[in-house]
Amino acid sequence: MSELLSPEVDGATAAELLPEETVRAIADEIWASFIGEDEVLVPLDGDLPSETVSAWVGIDGPWRGRVVLTCSTSAAEELTRALLRGRAPAVLDAEDVEDGFGELANVLGGGLKALLPEASSLTLPMVGATPPSNGTDEHVVTSLWRGERIDIVICSVPLPH
C-alpha cells in the first residue's frame, strides 16, 4: 500500500525540511536556557570517541523522521548535570543520565516538529549506545560544546514495507 504524502513534504529531504540553520537556532535556544546562559554550541568539527551515547525521538506526521542527539558518555553526563542546575545528586546514575539526556532530545524534537508544515507528534525519547540505523536521507549538524563534539542528526524514516 503506498503512502500518500502531503504536497509540502512529498519528496522533501530531511535537510530541506529542517535545514542546518534551523536546527542550530532551536538547539541554541535550548542550550542558552536549559544548559546555561553562557553555554554555546560552536559550529565546529571535532572527534567523537568510539564509545558514544545517543538519545532520539521520532516525529510522526505527513513526514516521518527521527532526531538523534549523540555525544560521548561523559558529555551526556555533563549535559545532564547542567540541565539539573545544581539539583543533581553528587553521583549521577545511568537512569539519571538517560532521563536528562533523553529529555534534551525530547525538547529538541519538540522545537523542530513545530516548524514542519503540518501538525506532527513526537514519540517518547529513547536512549542507547546505538541509535537505529538511519538509511540514506540524513543530515548531520556537528557542534562543539565545552570542547566536546555533539552531533544532531535529522533523518527520514520510511514506513516499513
Binding site: T22, A25, E29, G111, A114, L115
Partner: protein
C-alpha cells in the same frame, strides 16, 4: 581576565561622549561581559584588544558597536506589571473621557529597546480602547539603530516571548514565523520607530498623552537628567502622564512634575 582600569576609563569616556550615559566604577564586569561578544564578532582576541584597536584608530562602526553593546537593557513584556495595568484601568479611560471623539491618543516609548515595551502598550490599547489599534499611535525611539530595527520588525524569539507575556496575549497578538513569533499587522501598524538620543535635541514629536521613560534616566548624570525631563515635558500634553522606572524619580531633579499614586505604582504629571 579582568578589565584594565585604563581600558575601563577609556570605554566609559567614549560611552559618555557618544550617549551621555554614565558607566560608574563598579560596572567593569558589565563592560567585560557586554564587549566580549563585540570583540569576537570583530575578530579581536579579547576586550583588551578591541579597546586597543578603538583607541589607536577609532572608527565609526567600532565606536557604534561599543556604545550599543553597553547601552541596551534586558527587557520583558509588561515589565513590572503595575504601570501597564494602570495604563489600562486608569490612564487610557481618563484620556478617553477627556479627549474628543476620534482624537488620536499618542504614546511615546522613549527607550524602546527590542520592542517589548511599545508592543505591550499596543496590546493594552487594543484591549481597552475602542478601535484601539487605529486610535492609539505609539512612537518608539531608542539610541540604538539595531534596537529600532528590531522593534520595527516586531519579531521575537521563543525565549523572548516566554518573558512576562501572558499566554492569552501571545495567541491573540502573535503568530509563529519560523522559529520566531511575529506581532500582528494591526499591532505593528500602531508603532512608528526612529532613533533618538535622549541627550541630544529632539525633533518636534507628539504632543504625547503618555510617555514611558523607564529604566533609562538612571544612567545619566543629574544635569542631563534635568535636561531630558525638561525636553520630555515640552513634548507632552499639559494633562499627560509620564511613567518612569521603579528606581527612577523626578524628586530633587525637576520640580515641574506632580507625582500621582496609581494603585501600587505612580506616574508623573506636568505642573503648570
Amino acid at each position: 581576565m579582568s578589565l584594565a582600569s585604563a581600558d575601563f576609563t577609556y570605554v566609559a569616556d567614549l560611552v559618555r561622549r557618544e550617549s551621555a550615559i554614565v558607566l560608574s566604577p563598579g560596572k567593569e564586569y558589565l563592560v567585560e561581559a557586554r564587549l566580549l561578544p563585540v570583540a569576537r564578532r570583530s575578530g579581536d582576541a579579547g576586550v583588551a584588544q578591541l579597546v586597543e584597536r578603538s583607541r589607536r584608530r577609532p572608527d565609526k562602526a567600532t565606536t557604534q558597536s561599543i556604545v550599543e553593546a553597553l547601552t541596551t537593557n534586558e527587557t520583558s513584556w509588561y515589565r513590572d506589571g503595575d504601570p501597564f495595568s494602570q495604563l489600562g484601568t486608569t490612564v487610557f479611560p481618563q484620556l478617553l473621557a477627556q479627549r474628543s471623539a476620534g482624537e488620536k491618543l499618542r504614546v511615546w516609548s522613549a527607550a524602546c529597546s527590542s520592542g517589548q515595551e511599545p508592543y505591550t502598550i499596543g496590546m493594552v490599547a487594543s484591549e481597552v480602547v475602542p478601535a484601539g489599534t487605529s486610535r492609539v499611535a505609539i512612537t518608539a525611539t531608542d539610541l540604538s539603530q539595531e534596537m529600532v530595527d528590531r522593534t520595527r520588525a516586531g519579531r521575537f524569539s521563543q525565549l523572548e516571548v516566554n518573558r512576562g507575556l501572558p499566554a492569552p496575549m501571545l495567541v491573540r497578538h502573535f503568530t509563529r514565523a519560523g522559529t520566531e513569533w511575529e506581532v500582528s499587522p494591526a499591532l505593528r501598524s500602531m508603532v512608528t520607530t526612529s532613533t533618538l538620543n535622549l541627550a541630544q535635541p529632539y525633533p518636534r514629536m507628539g504632543p504625547f498623552d503618555v510617555v514611558f521613560l523607564r529604566n533609562v534616566i538612571i544612567y545619566f548624570d543629574v544635569p542631563t537628567k534635568q535636561e531630558i525631563l525638561r525636553k520630555v515635558r515640552a513634548q507632552m500634553r499639559p494633562d499627560g502622564w509620564l511613567f518612569l522606572g521603579a528606581a527612577d524619580t523626578t524628586l530633587g531633579v525637576d520640580p515641574g512634575w506632580e507625582r500621582v499614586a496609581l494603585g501600587r505604582t505612580s506616574a508623573y504629571r506636568p505642573i503648570g
